[in-house]
Assembly symmetry: C2
Homo-oligomer: 243 residues x 2
Amino acid sequence: MNQRQTITDGDNSGRPGKSGDGAERHEEIHRSISDAIIEHRLRPGARLREDALAEVFGISRTGIRKILQRLALEQLVTLTPRRGASVTRPTAEEAKDVFDARQMVECGLMPEVARRITDDDLRELLEMARRERQALKSGEQSMAIRLSADFHARLARISGNATLADFVDRLCSRSSLILAVYGNPGHLGCESHDHDDLIGYLEAGNGERAQAFMGRHLKAIEASLSIVEEEAEAPDLHRIFSD
Amino acid sequence: MNQRQTITDGDNSGRPGKSGDGAERHEEIHRSISDAIIEHRLRPGARLREDALAEVFGISRTGIRKILQRLALEQLVTLTPRRGASVTRPTAEEAKDVFDARQMVECGLMPEVARRITDDDLRELLEMARRERQALKSGEQSMAIRLSADFHARLARISGNATLADFVDRLCSRSSLILAVYGNPGHLGCESHDHDDLIGYLEAGNGERAQAFMGRHLKAIEASLSIVEEEAEAPDLHRIFSD
DNA sequence: GGCCACCGACATGTATACAATGTTCGTGCA
DNA sequence: TGCACGAACATTGTATACATGTCGGTGGCC
């Protein structure tokens, strides 16, 4: 126990403040794993053993399980009974559903966003778009994907509707997973100037054009995917010998 | 109750294979609690003590905690650290967000639903609407609310988009909570024939009119709410002495 | 020589014990 | 008599121990 405490203290040495609070620590761990998945440092299919995670983060399996269940609810990890957790591998159908949902919600939100956006919002969005462009230019694809998801999520948040914004958060996270499976390496799908153009429409208060542009933007991303059902392990035989 | 559990286990002892699987039991308990909340047998604000639930359902607190966390993710219960779980009491703002979200998603789904709906779907929907009317007539408001939520959820499912259908599920559940807090007793908000009319438009394949009608339908429900911030315990003083 | 069955290791699922914390009620003092 | 402090209680948070199920290897049998 003392040893684990020592390890924990070592991990937390950077932030000694209120590290004693377990809730925030859990939040932090959730973010760590979530980010790793979104940034493709953990690829779809990767196994997530409870013991290993518990050791890495210096808490017991109990806490890890809680976090894993939450990630499962967010559909970032898949929990198979008695087999444990692994990073979700989205199916082609899920990919279509997610992008259709984004099309409906993100586009539908644009008019309200254009109405409510402030100068501060615009500044922040421009900064995010700049960093994304920079990451893209310097070949940091993981970072670029993450920043792109953040951009879309931040945009939805401006609408003032927390429920829809949370939904967009989740859709963006899942989109990152989809890109990991079906995306073409070295090609993000997002044109680098798209987000800047979008900001322009919003700055002009033109919700209609922002909405239409967002629609094209999302369609472009979706079109850049290579949706090929890479046959899984087991179903292969089933399908082959079905006749 | 525990004895009944023991008997159940005894029955299963002969076949130790998959019957011991607690996953389905958990699912069942989750549904039990979820239904109780949606049907207003558990009112917003009601405390949900882990011990009590564990005893009622004959499992240990571990399992109950898992279920409670899931319900919290679905925003049906609120988990306050060190204070435990209670049925969520939606704020007026949340109520608005939820209905705005429903407006966007459920209406947006109607054209696709009209395109894909089958005769079997229509039969099932008519049956649901009939049972709802009947419950309403016989004064079973809890049952009516539940059936209404089921109707909307089932409708969204026809679109074929599982992601959006899941989202609508959650929105409908939360709407039940909202009705519990802001609804007028004895008045459901839904006109009893609304759902039948909607089915008519869908049967005719008229997605546009179904969409418009759904919009009015949801607006009518929202308009029937009495959004009065019934001052809670603590916030009261805060707001009063904020200046 | 190949296939099946058994067995050990490992990982997860569940329960329980313990620790920490919030709440409430009682008592003492002003 | 009212308020403040404190202790007992109740409840949740965490860890660990144990049970159960799955996977991989090895040996025997056909």
